[in-house]
């Protein structure tokens, strides 16, 4: 393939910093968790209790099934609980680089210049595939080394290798899915949305099958990552499956890329539209029209996400199955109450997850202010009689609406399918508490976003650490025994008793206060600075 290596070198040189940030986050997370596990589970009792916890359906839905058998080691538990989670982050990293360097380059037109040189038709694609291979190999090596030096009890070299290699190939597999999707869609946004719909869909399928019958998880592809029995039997078969699928998908992608027109997608979409321009009469309606499709996808996706989790409420709140002794003592009415308590606390946990996910579209839209500016799209808007306040509020307003709809849709989905899954009544007003509490939390994070948009536009992506940290601290917090303050670093951790208890007023007001103050600071700095500096 002509010039592949030269292009590869360019891509690597250009992306090294971004990769270092991803690698630090992912490897850091794995290493910190590994370093902590020994002290957390050094006693027999602690081990027994965590294993009992991990076998409950709620935990299975989050971390995958606990299939290890006694005698347990710390390393076995670690691997069991980390794979589903780490796999998700590896997939995200690969989707990011895969879409950016294929469809993204094509969108911007820089690929046209490259292709006009003496470069094979497939060279840019093979360069990206090679780049992904290199990135994932480095990640695999770092993860393996991280575990080897962590000194966890029960770590073996084969297990650590399996951990690193399987995550590397898992990431590569999702990277190759994105490369394929990038051939089908005709813009990078579509490719990213498609990739995440696939990732999210497989993740949710895996969750449902895990709770209901974990043998069927084999069919979800995502589930392969939890079938490895690391530090135990060390099964390499799923690695082989992932490798084969990756090679197949990459081959198909290369073949499609060879015959495809530059700039086109294989799925032909109708881009012509006749009417409806009447509805566009200002920056807000313009934005709404531009974001219509993502808005619909987000809303449906969030409803489905909520509904998927709701569908396992029956298993989650089934004390009779998980703890028959306890159920016997409590009696039928008591069991129902206890089941309800478990379900509600699970719902509370999920509300946080939904809140974090709802933050994603909100921040994306807020950051779009600067991104559209950089692309020059806003220049014409500014040239009209449109104040900066109006532009600012349009983006902000849409962000508020999108995140509100997303959070509500997820909670509604959870309630609707949850009600169907259990034989007792669920109280919707209690579920709504999840919305009342966590929507202000999302708003507060958006406030932080606007602050950066105005004051430090170049550094705005730093804000992503808030939802990411919030997610990790809540999701893994219990498992890693995070101290209370560490869980309360982000607003997502301020409502931990909701929805079992009423929404506390103080953090609620604090969230709204943060939103308003930072929002105003963001606007003042946005109004008073040069627009294209970012």
């Amino acid at each position: 393939m002509r010039r592949t290596s030269l292009l590869l070198k360019t891509y690597l040189r250009r992306d090294w910093f971004k990769f270092v940030v991803w690698a630090l986050c992912i490897v850091g997370l794995a290493a910190v968790a590994a370093g902590k596990f020994n002290s957390l589970y050094e006693t027999e009792a602690a081990m027994a209790s965590i294993i009992a916890t991990l076998k409950t359906p709620a935990m299975v839905s989050m971390f995958g099934p606990m299939t290890a058998t006694a005698p347990y080691t710390v390393a076995v538990i670690y691997a069991m609980e980390m794979m589903v989670f780490m796999g998700f982050f590896m997939a995200m990293m690969n989707i990011y680089f895969a879409v950016k360097n294929t469809r993204g380059e094509e969108d911007s037109g820089v690929l046209e210049l490259t292709r006009a040189r003496a470069v094979s038709r497939n060279a840019p694609l093979t360069a990206v595939i090679s780049q992904l291979v290199i990135i994932n190999v480095v990640m695999g090596v770092l993860l393996t080394l991280g575990l080897e030096v962590s000194g966890m009890n029960g770590v073996t070299i084969e297990g650590s290798l399996l951990f690193g290699i399987s995550l590397a190939i898992f990431g590569m597999m999702f990277g190759s899915f994105s490369l394929l999707i990038a051939q089908l869609t005709d813009n990078s946004r579509g490719a990213t949305i498609g990739s995440y719909v696939l990732l999210g869909g497989l993740f949710v399928l895996r969750m449902i099958t895990d709770v209901q019958n974990s043998d069927t998880t084999w069919w979800t592809i995502y589930g392969w990552i939890e079938k490895l029995n690391i530090y135990d039997q060390n099964d390499w078969f799923p690695v082989l499956l992932m490798l084969v699928l990756t090679v197949v998908v990459c081959t198909v992608t290369v073949m499609l890329n060879r015959t495809r027109d530059f700039g086109s997608g294989l799925l032909v979409l109708n881009h012509q539209q006749k009417s409806s321009s009447r509805l566009i009469n200002g920056p807000f309606s313009l934005l709404l029209r531009l974001e219509r499709m993502p808005l619909i996808i987000w809303t449906l996706g969030m409803f489905c996400l909520g509904a998927s989790y709701g569908s396992i409420f029956g298993q989650v709140g089934d004390l009779l199955a998980t703890n028959p002794m306890m159920a016997k003592i409590l009696g039928s009415q008591g069991t129902d109450n206890a089941n309800l308590a478990v379900v509600m606390s699970f719902a509370g946990m999920l509300s946080v997850v939904f809140a974090v996910v709802s933050t994603i579209p909100a921040l994306q839209i807020i950051f779009k202010i600067n991104r559209d500016e950089r692309k020059g799209w806003l220049e014409l808007i500014h040239a009209n009689a449109v104040s900066r306040l109006k532009v600012y509020l349009s983006y902000l307003g849409l962000a508020v609406i999108i995140s509100g709809i997303c959070l509500f849709a997820a909670i509604l989905g959870m309630y609707v399918s949850g009600s169907a899954a259990v034989d007792y009544d669920l109280d919707f007003s209690k579920f709504l508490r999840g919305f009342t509490a966590y929507f202000p939390a999302v708003l507060a994070v958006m406030g932080v976003g606007t602050f950066f948009v105005g004051l430090m536009p170049r550094l705005q992506n730093i804000v992503w650490f808030v939802p990411i940290y919030g997610f990790v601290s809540i999701y893994l917090g219990a498992l890693l025994d995070f101290p209370k303050w560490a869980k309360q670093l982000t607003p997502y951790g301020w409502f931990s008793k909701v929805p079992t208890h009423a929404v506390p007023t103080e953090p609620l007001l604090l969230c709204l206060g943060i939103t308003i103050v930072l929002g105003i600071i963001g606007f003042i700095t946005y109004r008073n600075r040069d627009l294209t500096v970012n």
């Binding site: 030269l6 292709r115 006009a116 470069v119 038709r121 530059f262």
Partner: protein, 302 residues
């Protein structure tokens, strides 16, 4: 016998149901500058992208150096340089790095010629591409193209962002290339530029190349503007075959302005001469007139 560098025959390209290229046929010979003009959306850039082998044609054939543009794209590109109209560059690489990369992608190196070009175009090559204006981004692509030792150069509206000074530099370099026997395909809206630089011209309209030839040949197909003052009345001239848009001067009944079909010019002139010419001005159609001529025909049909 002239050597043909680019040969396009009945090239067609569909995007779904839309026929972007219906019938594109033209040649570019060795050592000539070929001007490619047409209104927006006529298919200029689509044609060029098909020639680069990044769009696959649905019919017809196109060869550069006798090789198929799709099949042998890489071998062709070894001897080809291209500058598009809209240029986007990797924002976090400097102009210099990007120029070097494009050269390397063709197996060439940064040379003293590159340095000279950077100096001549007055490009600050050490700045990151994100800080460049459209003109500066265009300079990056132009410098990369001119310092490539190619045999065929394709420019797609290359000067749309350049100032007149840099435009002149561009034109000089194209002339230089021509003197070296290189071939150039220049697509442009700046008709004065095309008129000045091109040996032959192709006009594309709605996906069809409707006319090709030298400027003189094309002029032959249109009308010459005549302003004449005679001793006698000019009424008879208006009825002559080949005379159009006949307008008598309001102040002077013996003065008139009209257009004459170029192939009827001789006959009309004989008639006028018989009336006793006092003064006569003739203006050959500019490329702009030609362009308008075809464009109007276009809108009449529609």
């Amino acid at each position: 016998m002239t050597e043909t560098v680019l040969e396009v025959k009945n090239l067609q390209k569909n995007f779904g149901k839309f026929q972007a290229l219906k019938d594109v046929t033209f040649n570019v010979n060795k050592g000539e500058v070929f001007g490619f003009i047409g209104p927006n959306g006529a298919g200029k850039s689509t044609t060029i992208r098909a020639l680069l082998g990044i769009l696959k044609s649905n019919g017809g054939s196109a060869t550069i150096f006798g090789q198929d543009v799709w099949q042998d794209a890489v071998t062709i590109h070894e001897r080809l340089a291209y500058v598009p109209g809209d240029i986007y560059l990797w924002p976090n690489l400097t102009g210099g790095q990007i120029i070097d990369l494009f050269l390397k992608l063709n197996g060439e190196k940064h040379s003293s010629k590159t340095d000279a070009l950077i100096k001549e175009f007055a490009l600050d090559a050490n700045k990151k591409a994100r800080t460049y204006s459209k003109g500066n981004r265009q300079k990056v692509a132009l410098i990369a193209a001119f310092s490539t030792d190619a045999d065929f150069y394709i420019f797609d509206e290359p000067t749309s962002g350049l100032d007149p000074l840099n435009e002149r530099i561009f034109q000089n370099h194209v002339k230089e290339l021509k003197n070296e026997g290189k071939s150039i395909l220049l697509s442009s809206h700046i008709l004065s530029e095309v008129e000045k630089m091109c040996d032959r011209i192709g006009i594309i309209r709605e996906g069809k190349v409707i006319e090709t030839g030298s400027l003189d040949e094309l002029r032959h197909l249109t009308r010459t503007m005549i302003t004449v003052k005679t001793n006698g009345a000019l009424d008879s001239v208006a009825k002559l075959d080949g005379v159009h848009e006949f307008v008598v001067d309001t102040a002077d009944q013996q003065k008139a302005t009209f257009a004459v079909d170029s192939d009827k010019l001789a006959g009309v002139m004989t008639q006028i001469a018989a009336l006793g010419v006092v003064s006569l001005q003739s203006a050959p159609p500019t490329l702009e007139d030609l362009f308008m001529h075809y464009y109007h025909e276009d809108s009449k049909e529609a």
